[in-house]
Symmetry: C2
Amino acid sequence: MADSGGAGAGGGETLLFLTDEQLRKGIEAMFFAYRGFTADPDRILADYGYGRAHHRAIHFINRSPGTTVNNLLSLLGVTKQSLNRVLRTLVEDGLVDSRVGNRDKRERHLFLTAQGSELEQKLSDAQRARMRQAYRLAGPDAVVGFRRVLEAMMDPEMRSHFTTLKDQG
Amino acid sequence: MADSGGAGAGGGETLLFLTDEQLRKGIEAMFFAYRGFTADPDRILADYGYGRAHHRAIHFINRSPGTTVNNLLSLLGVTKQSLNRVLRTLVEDGLVDSRVGNRDKRERHLFLTAQGSELEQKLSDAQRARMRQAYRLAGPDAVVGFRRVLEAMMDPEMRSHFTTLKDQG
DNA sequence: GTTGGAATGTCAACAAGGCTGACATAAAGT
DNA sequence: ACTTTATGTCAGCCTTGTTGACATTCCAAC
């Protein structure tokens, strides 16, 4: 059914990249690449007895120190109960500092401790190394395209989170 | 530490795209984009009481009809026990047909039933629609770059799986 | 000032889907 | 025939997602 992108009827011959086959390859590329993307951090995390959920929390706390649980929630797109379990272990293990808010005592503001920063560095170094290698192999023009397609693939809400983080950066 | 990609020392000024900040943005882009990538199938799967694991199995069985459990295993990168649970429910529900091999009776060859193909279509249509939209917004050149970076990000073993599938396609 | 609703975060219990270990069956080598 | 190897299945554990119930804090109405 519906080979919607072909050069056959109507459109332009510039739409060859929208064939179902091309799209399928893109889908598989995402799948395999994401495996590579998470492989190195996963190995490090296993040494600590942590999982990807811990990595994500650590990443975004490092990115926005002092962020609240609620804010982290909307970034991660999980339930607060799920995030809470992860945060609790990180606080217990002394990687994250959770301070009650001054203005609003319902909120908890989250910071990495020195120990937390150390793990963040390890994870982030490994993941950046993979990314750097891929970027280097693909070249600067490819990187621009890569980022453009990824951004277009996000849900609008996630895209706005993404660009907000970008502006901070 | 280690702002390894800067234009500062040694290399060329064409390496600005390798700054730690750029790499971090790439990492976050992957994270947010992958969420979008899986969002539509996830909704459909939920109606059937299935999860992503079922989707992956269905996708690759459709891609290589008659493939064996062992072959699927190396594509998916999970344990056979894990895959088996998913396959069992798909066979029970009549979406997948599992036929004992002729040459080697230890092997099971996997096929989608009509019902399985129907679900595959739904999932794949939704995911391709998202991909098509992203490709269209980003443009053909961006798509080439996207694919190049993703391919460079894979583990070598996954990359060879990927290109093998490509050749079949 | 008290009270009721909304927001924030925590605790408990359950489900999906990873994992390892133990095992049955079939094929292949000795 | 007998051991070794490959393939697939069954059982049980762990992480991490989910919903439901609840405590605390804030704010607005009274």
